[in-house]
Amino acid sequence: MLEIKNLRVSYGQDVILNGIDLELGAGETLAIVGESGTGKTTLGLSIMRLVEGTVRGTIRFNGKDLLALSDNEMQQIRWSQIAMAFQNANNVLNPVYTVLNQIIEPMVEHGLKSKKEARDRAAELLRYFGFPADRFAAYPHQLSGGEQQKALLAMAMANNPQLLILDEPLSSLDAAARAEVGDLLRETDKQSAKLVATHDLDTVSKLADRMAVLYGGKIIEAGLTRGVFRQPRHPYTRALIRAYPNMTTVKDLQGIKGRMTRPVSGCPFHPRCTQAIDICQTKMPRLVWNKGRQIACHRGGIITLLSTKNLTRSFGSLKAVDSVNLHIEAGETLALVGQTGSGKTTLAKTIMGLYQPTEGDMYLEGAKVGKRGKDFYKRVQMVFQNPGESLSHRLSALEAVMEPLDVQEIGTKEERENKAIKVLGEVELPQTNDFLNKYPHQLSGGEMQRLAIARALVLDPVLLIADEPTAFLDASIQAKILKLLLNLQEQRGLSILYITHDIAAARKVSDRIAVMLDGKIIEEGPSNEIIAAPKQGYTKNLLRAASALRSTESSNVEQPTLNPPIDEGAL
């Protein structure tokens, strides 16, 4: 019904929309998601032909190219067949009209209804949105923000348009009103297609079957809402979900590095992307179908950084690691959870090449890993369990952090020193001479572990294996170290294989959890699913045994988590 091809909108030099392609069938709801300034509203206004800038491309509505129509012809369609509910309620409503008259006006103006019919329809809509009859005569300034928003929605729906463009329809509402209006919007007008522009993922979750993520005037990922929420495939989409507080995901909130900048050559997201390569700076990626999703990314979306295939490590007849198949995506945390002796550390050391695998293969960015050389260790680094052991007592703080650079023979001595000092800053350690000359036995446990993390980061690895990095630390220091890891992930796009016996900590830092028992991975999935709906008895036991601060008397010991049950449909 609506088909947009290569839509470009610019104001003078500023390109707001840069080649948008999308389709919308009758009765469908598509959400356009993006941060403010990405061009969501401009897209809506372009369809309404209300933008003042230069518009190129085609917008086909029921076969007619809207951009080719004369102003008169467009006038026929606007508000009767295509209607839009604007975002800023305060400015849009006419202050001298009552609510009822506001809604009657477009109907009468477009000559579709007699005054009488229009009044009935308007009253019906207001009642539908929960206005009591005595509020019909209220003026906009007498309405609450929520009521104004409802009035705007009623106005847009007045003529039963075939296409309804909703700009932030729920954003000005509180949570209860949001749920109510969300339901109403979903139930009503099943025959009209809706285009919902919003920055709010909850709105998307409530209203839309499909979603398209907009960034820098370009759609970078599009697909079925549930699929995108369960497994975002573009780095920006994932970052957006990580930054959004909700009741479904369990990982701590993370921001997105940098700020949106315009104009940008190449992929609009590349300055903030943590897996950008050279081509991303020069060439704009096209939106292409990729495994059931449309993705605009030169790297085909989030890449799989490391995968193991039937990785096995035996000690005599004991299989400490038994046919493990795991994958770690770029920029994500995979928590490997299991009790002591389940083979977690052996798996980590086998990946690192400190143990030779007995069987199985490993792939780093798709390339098979054979004998691990310096190149491999430049990309994969490990933080060991006990920092007191893993730091040599003969090396000062500076020497310890410089050691990997020395081994890899990178740069001059001065460059190495500067790099080491810079990384110390990143892990929030002092950069004073006094500190640089300290030896491990002069440092606290937390400082030692930070030093060990700095040492692992100094080569700018893409994957960090953290083996119980907080096992020897107090809870307060542990919290700081975990936060540090999350921040590093945000800033560097670091992938982390986080090894722990503590599922409560894993839940806070990981995107996915893999549960290990007797050398095998027995369960693996998104963290929230493992926490809320574990399939294996062992995982349930782990959850039951996990730390919980029960503050109320509860007979229900079976309740494994502090989380409420989760609605599958919600984000």
């Binding site: 690192m352 060991f384 730091l391 040599s392 007592h393």
Partner: protein, 281 residues
Amino acid sequence: MHIDLKREIKESGPGKTGLIILLLMITVALAAPILAPYDPYQQSTASLLSPSWSHWLGTNHVGQDIWSRLVFGARTSLLVGFGVGILATLLGTVFGVSAALVGGLYEKVVMRIVDAFIVIPMIIVIILISAYIRPGILTLILLLSLLSWQGGARIMRAQALSLKERGHVAAAKSFGANRFYLAWRHIVPDLGPILLVEFIYGVRRAVFMEAGLAFLGISDPTVVSWGMMMRDALSFSYLNVWQWWLVPTGVALSLIIIGLTFIGHAAEPVIEPRLRGVGIA
């Protein structure tokens, strides 16, 4: 594990004594040309003289000044001692540490060679070989080193095997370090104190062997050596020359060996801390 070797030696009375003796001997050896009034090789017709102002310890059977020969003999003794000490410790470390790090067939071969050498009585072999080739100082150092590194190699391997399981060694490996780097930067520094003890006992053994071979008359006769001096003195045992010829030489040799023994004993708690507090009986 912070072991301070200096403190270990300083705090032991015999350790201090040993150190003083050794330093004294080194000073004598270094200052030999100043301390010796005559060329130790210069022969004269005045043989078998008694001590006098011009010849403090008299002269030997070919008219050489015994004091000058005693002073220059310290050079030979210490040169061979330290030369062998350094070389044998080096060989022991290289083979011991590399066997531990490389492992596999290499380790097996090296350690079986070590076993074989330890089983053979070294002194007999050295005497046999020396009797044939009459080694000079350099050859003697090489010969003694080649035949005495094996015991050290065993100790180094055992230590390296335990050190290589340390966390910081695994960490260095995970930066891509090769075995040479691991050995040089992480394992050998931690072997330090043990190396020193090995070295000191190596020196002692070599000083003793050098004197012994010379005494048996199977070393290079042109080199001044305490062992040879004692042998020569003994052939005039029917005269009273032994008082200024045999005794001072024997005392000098004993002093070096006692000094080294004391130092080694004081440093031993480094290898085995349980020995700490157990004095020399």
